[in-house]
Amino acid sequence: MWIYERKLQYPIKIKNPDPRMAKVIITQFGGPDGELAASLRYLCQRYCMPRKEVSGILNDIGTEELAHLEMVGTLVKQLVAGVPPEELAKHGLGGYYADHGYSLFPVDGNGVPFTAAYFASKGDPVADLVEDMAAEQKARAVYENLIDLADDPDVIDPLRWLREREVVHFQRFGEALRMITE
């Protein structure tokens, strides 16, 4: 089970709304390499691992990804706070606003809704862990692209922090894979 902790995992403090960045950052909420896909991937895979340690790392990283999902949602929310609909439309968020208003919905940067087809759960520990390592690298690459697109240090700082976490997760999944194959 889970118990909600009433704080973000890392502080987010956006002083200047920026719908242009909201539109691209939302891909880490509901896109192919986003935090929702990451969390579901690990939390699904954990049921079928040959070692308790490996189920443990999937459980704990899957849980941390939920905290990242909350951070990305907060980034998007604060980036559009107080921005009028016509301004959202100018930055490509008109369609999003029509369907979801100011609410969060898992989509990628082009508004394509989330699908479970973004991740795999094969019941084969090597296949799953290799997928997880690739997933962490892809998420890192997306954060780097988002940092390239950003100019506000208040946005760049949490994106850098999230990027760093993907590097740590990649390392741990590598160790988990070695535990299984050695």
Partner: protein, 85 residues
């Protein structure tokens, strides 16, 4: 959020990520005695910091929530509503 709360929350977040990171490390290195001792030491410190924060700024989890006239859990802004998380 006032300055003091923000500072305390930041310290808590920093301690928290240290422990999360160490916990992940221990998942794949469960026999590392040095890491085990570190986890114990900093987890104790973390518990103290959490109690201090909760006394001043309300519950971090619903297990610590109460109230006489009003349910404290919903009294304050949610993390996504306040600047600084």
């Amino acid at each position: 959020m006032d300055k003091k709360q923000e500072t305390m929350l930041r310290d808590l977040q920093a301690m928290d990520i240290f422990l999360i990171d160490l916990g992940l490390y221990l998942d794949t290195h469960p026999c590392d005695k040095e890491a085990l001792a570190l986890y114990k030491k900093y987890n104790e410190q973390n518990n103290k910091m959490r109690s201090q924060y909760q006394e001043l700024y309300g519950p971090l989890t619903i297990r610590h929530a109460d109230g006489v006239d009003y349910w404290q859990w919903v009294a304050d802004p949610w993390p996504w509503e306040r600047l600084g998380g």
